[in-house]
């Protein structure tokens, strides 16, 4: 039983930021929650899905973020509080609807939680959702620790209901995926009934139709709502100042950067010189509160992730307030005090602060750093990311890479988003030549496939995962079929949204709550729209490669190859070896073989090592997952596989 439902009011628990957000939604009486999986956001919906069976709550993994936002907005329109969750780039996907929703307004509280990934720790970008709040003109909140991650959600629902518009609560990896102690509040008894009123006076926000028309009128109303939100922000418990009355330097910060800033001040012992204004309500800024603190110091340092947003807003406000507060000297991203790429940490803030305050700070004796650096370069070889042992993608990319080489026309693969993005690296044989957003691989391939008119004769291939297929591949695939683009789409179907933790998608026969659901067959769907479809097991290297070679030569339009094999980490497969794999030390010729240790030098599975003493390959029994693919790689048959007992 989960602490999210069982945890009593007033008790204290160690919760991941995402769990705190989920509990906050439950304490706010959320009825509907939807999202699309994406690191670092996934555990919010996952935690809610786990408890949905035991509570009056509907939770779904939607096909993509735009649909998730539409699903949650419908709940709001029908009078139910709803929560919409996604990673940062999900907001891009949902933004078209969000712009219109912000114009039409909502009814019951609707909170949107995007989790940004500064430093792109698990992303192909470090884009920010904060800009969308300003772009579509909805209030933006940012929790500064784990307790706030919970408490702020409830406050956001109240604000959303006050202004009848969505409220954005932005988290970041270092809050969402970090854990801290959180004291729980009450869970309400839910009795909300869903009913969509639509026959009142057309302009009435609670009973009329819900449209962004007439645009000028609705836009005017929307801006009035923002002014209302600012009044709440002036009094918000999430904005707090600590430090002297007239500090030498005022630091303004939000989100995880609050914890870094607090630590930096403490490391430098600068508590007497620096004031720290922590903002939880970051757009629009509350001008009275800002005036009060901006007036108390001549120097301002803004600490935020990633690019300047807060800094810009503070500067605009300071320009308006200049006659009252005088001119200020600003430090932050724009003057280079802090980097405008990557994530911050206490050390980066220390460096900025030490320079501004003229403090000499050395964390560790230089000689220690030098010795440690020498030890690492001598004894700690780098650890590149690679596919897990037993991962079907390693086998798939081995075959794709091999087939393209044999085809010998400089064919290439357009990549997509998932674990298989790793195929841009040497451990995936550097197979991917482009990598952008969800569904972009097939979209780019669709374009490449029409360039024959301009002399292009390289085969264009796209890859996508099974969850990505439903999320954003379908429209581009329909386009490619309709335009008769001459391409091959390879669906790497590992039966789940593997990278983010096996969340179900529309291709599976189970839903977020674990109930059975109609699964949509990828191969059948592709056939229905007129693409030729072949299905192979990627662990069968020979058949996969033969099929691929035929598809590359086929110039009849869109060909789809579904490579179907369950993820090695999936709950049904994990820790169960299909084969016991062994290397025959006598048969293995190692460096003297014609293959020159192809298996370790090129195939590079972490479960297959090179024995430096015996000069032969060997299985690492701790790591090997028993997929048996390496047995098909060895040209002399030195690698044997036996069905595991």
């Amino acid at each position: 039983m989960s602490v999210l439902l069982e945890g009593k009011s007033g008790t204290r628990h160690l919760l991941m930021g995402n769990e705190a957000i989920a509990r906050g939604a439950l304490e706010a009486g959320v009825s509907v929650a939807a999202g699309y999986p994406g690191t670092p956001s996934s555990e919010i919906i996952e935690s809610l899905a786990k408890v949905s069976g035991e509570s009056k709550l509907y939770v779904e993994w939607s096909v993509n973020e735009k649909v998730a936002m539409e699903v949650t907005a419908a709940a709001s329109f029908a009078g139910l509080r709803s929560l919409c969750v996604m990673k940062q780039n999900g907001v891009n996907v949902a933004s078209d609807f969000l712009l219109h929703l912000a114009g039409s307004g909502t009814r019951a509280g609707m909170v949107i939680v995007p989790c940004d990934d500064p430093g792109a720790l698990s992303s192909a970008n470090e884009g920010e959702s904060r800009h969308f709040a300003r772009l579509v003109e909805i209030p933006l909140l940012e929790p500064g620790d784990f307790q706030e991650a919970k408490d702020m959600i409830k406050w956001a629902f109240e604000l959303s209901e006050e202004i009848r518009n969505p409220v954005m609560v932005r988290s970041v990896t270092r809050l969402s995926h970090a854990s801290g102690n959180v004291t729980l509040g009450e869970l309400p008894a839910l009795s909300a009934k869903a009913y969509f009123k639509h026959d009142g006076p057309p302009m009435d926000p609670m009973t009329g139709v819900i449209l962004s028309y007439p645009v000028a009128l609705k836009h005017t109303r929307q801006q009035e709502k923002l002014r209302q939100a600012v009044m709440w922000f002036e009094q918000s418990p999430f904005n707090a100042y600590s430090g002297p009355q007239h500090p030498e330097l005022l630091m303004i910060t939000s989100s995880a950067c609050f914890l870094y800033s607090k630590e930096a001040i403490s490391l430098l012992g600068a508590q007497g010189r620096v004031g720290l204004l922590k903002l939880g309500t970051t757009w629009p800024l509350p001008p009275e509160l800002m005036k009060k603190y901006l007036a108390c110091s001549e120097k301002i340092l803004v600490v935020e992730e990633v690019i300047s947003f807060l800094e810009d807003e503070v500067k605009i406000l300071a320009a308006d307030l200049a006659p009252k507060i005088g001119s200020k000297t600003f430090f932050g991203k724009k003057d280079g005090s802090l980097p405008a790429v990557g994530e911050l940490n206490p050390d980066r803030v220390v460096a900025a602060l030490a320079t501004i305050l003229g403090i000499d700070y050395q964390a560790v004796p230089k000689i220690y750093i030098q010795r440690a650096g020498e030890a690492v370069s001598a004894a700690a070889p780098g650890r590149d990311l690679t596919f897990c042992p037993g991962c079907p993608h390693r086998a798939s990319f081995w075959s794709i890479h091999t087939a393209l080489q044999m085809d010998n026309r400089q064919g290439f693969v357009c990549g997509d988003i998932g674990c298989y993005s790793l195929a841009m690296l040497p451990s995936g044989y550097s197979t991917l030549k482009t990598l952008h957003s969800m569904g972009s691989g097939i979209g780019l391939a669709s374009g490449f496939g029409k360039l024959g008119k301009f002399g292009m004769d390289q085969p264009a291939v796209a890859v996508c995962g099974d969850s990505t297929f439903f999320h954003a591949v379908l429209p581009a695939l329909v386009n490619a079929v309709h335009q008769k683009s001459n391409i091959t789409l390879i669906v790497l179907d590992n039966s789940g949204t593997a990278m983010t933790g096996f969340q179900p998608h529309p291709g599976l026969t189970v839903n977020a709550a674990g109930h059975s659901a109609p699964g949509i067959d990828i191969a059948g769907l592709c056939e229905a729209i007129g693409a030729g479809v072949t299905v192979c097991d990627p662990f069968d290297l020979q058949q996969t490669q033969q099929t691929l070679l035929e598809l590359l030569e086929d110039e009849s339009g869109v060909k789809v190859l579904v490579l179907k094999q369950i993820c090695a980490l999936s709950p049904e497969k994990k820790a169960k070896k299909m084969y016991e794999v062994t290397v025959d030390e006598i048969v293995c010729l190692g460096e003297n073989c014609g293959c020159n240790r192809l298996c370790t030098r090129v195939f590079k599975c972490p479960g297959l090592n090179w024995d430096t003493d015996k000069r032969v390959s060997r299985i690492d029994e701790v790591i090997c997952a028993g997929c048996g693919v390496c047995a098909s790689i060895c040209p002399v048959g030195a690698i044997g596989k036996k069905e595991a007992a």
Partner: protein
């Protein structure tokens, strides 16, 4: 509840290893054991892409008073628990100082660069020497081998928790471990985990 006392506040622990070794699980178990003691625990970790065979780290800040940054500042680790030996060195380079202590599992996991022949994996003796030079004290245990004897290499991370408790710098108690494990894992796993915890504790002399 009376709060346990700490050697330093915050006391900073880094658990490091290779994606798939159970780093997150170990940090959660340790964090919950200390949280039960009434301490404020902040854990910072990354997962997702970093799980796929890369170096991983969990940062634990343990305090009687407050929440700290989920990232430990450079040079401020009091204890490094390494599930893999070269990861200990990598962490010491950034977060170590001459007073840092290290608890290190000796089982190597070869990086891809070693498997393919681009670089060499150093000898264990060489690694031990470097780690000893960079720490105030270091304990080396063969947790993976002992875990294999228990039936699953994943128990190695629980053995490291047991070993950390035996070192005695943190207020960790077997009873709290039992409470945490029985809350978070299937009941049939409790015995094996307790056994792993005890085996780990016995490795520290």
């Amino acid at each position: 509840m009376e709060k346990a006392t700490l050697l330093c506040d915050p006391y900073n622990v880094i658990i490091t290893g290779v994606g798939g070794q159970g780093n997150v699980m170990a940090s959660r178990v340790l964090g919950n054991m200390l949280s039960v003691k009434g301490l404020q625990v902040t854990i910072g970790e990354t997962f997702g892409a970093s799980q796929r065979g890369g170096s991983v780290m969990s940062h634990l800040r343990i305090s009687a008073a407050s929440t700290w940054s989920p990232q430990i500042p450079e040079g401020r680790a009091h204890m490094v628990v390494a599930l893999e030996p070269i990861e200990a060195l990598r962490v010491l380079m950034v977060y170590g100082n001459p007073k840092t202590k290290v608890l290190c599992n000796t089982r190597a996991i070869q990086p891809i660069s070693v498997i393919c022949g681009d670089s060499d994996y150093p000898s264990l003796d060489f690694l031990k020497q470097r780690i000893l030079e960079l720490s105030e004290h270091a304990w080396f245990v063969d947790a993976t081998d002992a875990a294999l004897k228990l039936g699953n290499p994943i128990y190695g991370n629980i053995m490291m928790i047991g070993a950390l408790a035996a070192i005695g710098d943190l207020p960790m108690e077997r009873e709290d471990f039992k409470t945490v494990i029985s809350k978070t894992m299937a009941p049939e796993k409790t015995e094996a985990n307790l056994c792993a915890y005890d085996t780990g504790a016995q490795m520290i002399h």
